[in-house]
């Protein structure tokens, strides 16, 4: 281990790894942006990465490093040892872009990574900090790409036509010049596929689910959290147990029961069954919150002449508004995203929820952009809620621990 504690060894090693990472990232990015072919080159990355790792120790000014590397990278891109190979038919612009992009992504972070590393032997702290900065950089690139790409593909696909998609799967650009025409699949979804009605169904089912869930779980959670009675402990634990029964296992008898009672394929059935999947979660979240509320405030209410129920109504609930918001949002999200039950119980397009509607688009006969447009339509409202009310949502997620 100790041999690595030397900036002349650590620098180039980190440099090479970083070069490989950014070469891949830049190549992928440029491929997607231009639709042309770029690919990372091993030899070029080895050379330039090691060089950058050494140079960063000497040249502390990031921009100089970048300038030097740019020149080299652009020059090399015409040779066989380029860090990013540019397909033959691309013009000099592509070479320039790849070279400078690569140099920027290599040089500047390297000077940050090796910041504070003296030349020669390193202390353990210095070495570890350099490695951590390297890992951090890698982490940001990795996670951002992993999360953003599928979502981008979703949006992008929904804005293209089948022909364009098949013609060049690498082309991630969106042709803005098509204007409103871009949203053709959305328009068709709403016009021909009833998505307006699905959206509405999903919306009111989710809202109803939230209301019913709250109506059931608030009293229950309060009782479990606050009131002392025999069996309270056992109850508060079994909430978690309910939470562990897989939906598919419940879905089977529910399906049977609904089939036999005629509730299958009806909105009423869905509205009856959704809250049951969310009540345990809500119960669990709310009881945690209620437990955390200061008991003394409620006792003050009792001393002020309120009955228990009045205390819940006039003191506990107003104090729990943030938690109620979190729970509502979370339950809304679960109901909105629910797929399994809707898929199993609903057959009739006039009663479809959004997710069920999307599932019906998953036919190879229906162009893919429709499917993705459907996915976007389902995703946007939750995302908007999520981004707008992130604080509540995150709190909901954390408190609700976990429903998955």
């Amino acid at each position: 281990m100790k041999v690595f504690w030397n900036s002349f060894i650590t620098g180039p090693i980190l440099g090479v790894f970083w070069a490989l990472i950014v070469a891949t990232a830049v190549a992928v990015l440029l491929s997607f942006v231009t639709g042309a072919a770029f690919r990372p080159g091993l030899t070029g990355c080895l050379i330039l990465g090691a060089l950058a790792g050494l140079a960063a120790l000497e040249i502390r000014a990031g921009w100089m490093l970048v300038a030097g590397l740019s020149a080299l990278a652009v020059a090399l891109s015409y040779t066989g040892i380029s860090p990013i190979h540019v397909s033959g038919d691309a013009g000099p612009g592509a070479h320039l872009m790849a070279g400078i992009g690569f140099a920027l992504a290599l040089g500047w972070p390297m000077s940050v990574i090796l910041h504070g590393c003296p030349r020669g032997p390193l202390t353990r702290h210095e070495w570890e900090e350099a490695v951590i900065r390297f890992l951090t950089g890698f982490g940001y690139i990795f996670f951002t790409a992993a999360v953003a790409i599928p979502f981008y593909v979703m949006v992008m696909t929904s804005l293209k036509t089948q022909g364009e998609l098949i013609a060049n799967p690498l082309d991630f650009t969106i042709d803005l010049s098509r204007g409103w025409e871009l949203f053709r699949s959305y328009e068709e979804l709403f016009r021909n596929f009833n998505f307006g009605s699905y959206l509405w169904t999903s919306f009111y089912i989710s809202i109803l689910t939230v209301l019913i869930t709250l109506a059931f779980s608030i009293p229950g959670a309060y009782a479990v959290a606050r009131l002392r009675f025999k069996g309270q402990k056992a109850l508060s634990r079994s909430i978690l147990l309910i939470y562990m029964v897989p939906m598919i296992v419940l879905a089977l008898p529910i399906y049977i029961a609904f089939s036999m009672t005629g509730l299958r394929n009806s909105i009423a059935g869905i509205v009856m069954i959704y809250p049951v999947t969310t009540i345990p979660v809500a119960l669990y979240m709310l009881q945690g919150y209620f437990r955390g509320l200061p008991a003394e405030v409620e006792e003050a209410g009792l001393m002020d002449g309120l009955s228990r129920l009045q205390v819940i109504w006039k003191i506990t609930l107003p104090l729990s508004l943030p938690a109620l918001a979190s729970v509502s949002l979370y339950v809304f999200m679960i109901a909105w995203n629910e797929f399994l039950l809707a898929f199993m119980l609903l057959d009739d397009p006039s009663k479809f929820t959004l997710t069920r509607g999307i599932a019906s688009l998953n036919s190879s006969e229906i162009p893919r952009q429709h499917l993705m447009a459907g996915a976007v339509i389902a995703t946007v409202p939750v995302m908007a809620l999520f981004l707008g009310l992130e604080k509540f949502m995150t709190r909901g997620l954390t408190a609700g621990s976990v429903k998955g």
């Binding site: 001393m303 002449g305 309120l306």
Partner: protein, 349 residues
């Protein structure tokens, strides 16, 4: 009216007995303070009186009415909590008027009473603020205001000042004393701060492990502690306790000193408060020792004196003392202020 009686009151949590049979009568307009070490059951007792905690056995009698089975809302008591327990979502005005509102009092009456309490507690400017926008002392006053408004049979306070900083505590202590003078209502007050207890109480109830050790006025407790526990619990710095033997109306200490001790036959321990010890030359007093540490406090200084077989004694002396650690001194005890305890720790006179 505000007479409260506890009759053989007990509290059990499952198998654990927390209050072990307490009998106590609190007279109308008396200011009674419960003190005791942490966990001795002060809060539990108070909450049993309030009805927030079930009484496992025994009776709570309020104004002659058996209230043991009544819920808190029916008992007509007011309580000020340690955390103040203000309703965070209401303004000061609504906090104070809440109990009247729930009781369905007419609007005008509510407003009048709130205004009156606010005036008494100098809260007029803050009536429209939320509790979170108030300082600790102001919140404390709101909590008190909330209970005043109801005209309760009695006030219950659970360590109301413990969340305040030292100087504010002194100030609020003064206010509560004034309030008691003004309202002349029954007050039961829990604290573990003995300065508070000593300065405020008409009577102090010293609790230990769910039992009453002694009930009496502050002066009684300080000057005539019933037992070793109370003797050491009341007073700061603590009373010094030395082993001693008593024979024929005279006590003698391990170091050889001694003196008269009428009526203390059977005593095995002697107690003397730090301020009742005079410093002299070695050999001249009851015990000799060397100064171990001097704690200068400005007005006073505490000497911790190592007296060999008699242990370490704390002596209070003038702040301007010139004694330094290592100085040998003799200590003389004020005869009148000696306390004798038998082997069970019971005071002997």
């Amino acid at each position: 009216m505000g007479k409260i009686e506890l009759k053989a009151v007990e509290k059990w949590y499952g198998e654990a007995q927390v209050i072990k049979g307490v009998d106590l009568t609190i007279d109308d307009s008396e200011f009674v303070i419960f003190v005791g070490p942490s966990g001795c059951g002060k809060s539990t007792l108070l909450r049993m009186i309030a009805g927030l905690e079930e009484t496992s056995r025994g009776q709570v009698i309020i104004d002659g009415r058996d209230a043991t089975a009544e819920p808190p809302s029916k008992r007509g008591l007011a309580m000020v909590f340690q955390s103040y327990a203000l309703y965070p979502h209401m303004s000061v005005r609504d906090n104070m008027g809440f109990s009247l509102k729930t009781a369905g009092a007419p609007k005008a009456e509510q407003e009048e009473k709130v205004a009156e309490a606010a005036r008494a507690l100098r809260l007029e400017e803050y009536l429209d603020r939320r509790p979170k926008d108030l300082s600790g002392g102001q919140r404390q006053r709101v909590a008190i205001g909330r209970s005043i408004v109801r005209d309760p049979t009695a006030f219950l306070f659970d360590e109301p000042l413990s969340n305040l900083d030292a100087s504010l505590r002194v100030e609020m202590r003064y206010e509560i004393a004034k309030l008691h003078q003004a309202l002349n209502a029954t007050m039961i007050y829990v604290t573990h701060d003995q300065v508070e207890a000593m300065t405020l109480a008409d009577r102090i109830v010293v609790l230990s492990a769910g039992r009453i050790e002694q009930v009496g006025s502050p002066r009684e407790l300080y000057e005539h502690p019933a037992n070793l526990f109370v003797a050491q619990f009341i007073g700061s710095p603590k009373m010094n306790i030395l082993p001693c033997t008593v024979a024929e109306d005279a006590f003698s200490l391990p170091g050889g000193g001694g003196g008269p001790a009428t009526g203390a036959a059977g005593a095995t321990q002697l107690g003397i408060r730090p301020e009742a010890i005079a410093i002299g030359a070695t050999g001249g007093g009851h015990v000799d020792g060397t100064v171990d540490v001097t704690e200068y406090l400005g007005a006073d200084a505490y000497l911790i004196v190592d007296c060999g077989a008699s242990g370490k004694l704390t002596v209070r002396t003038d702040g301007e003392t010139s004694l330094r650690p290592g100085d040998p001194i003799g200590l003389t005890f004020e005869d009148r202020k000696l306390h004798f305890f038998d082997a069970d720790g019971i005071a002997l006179r």
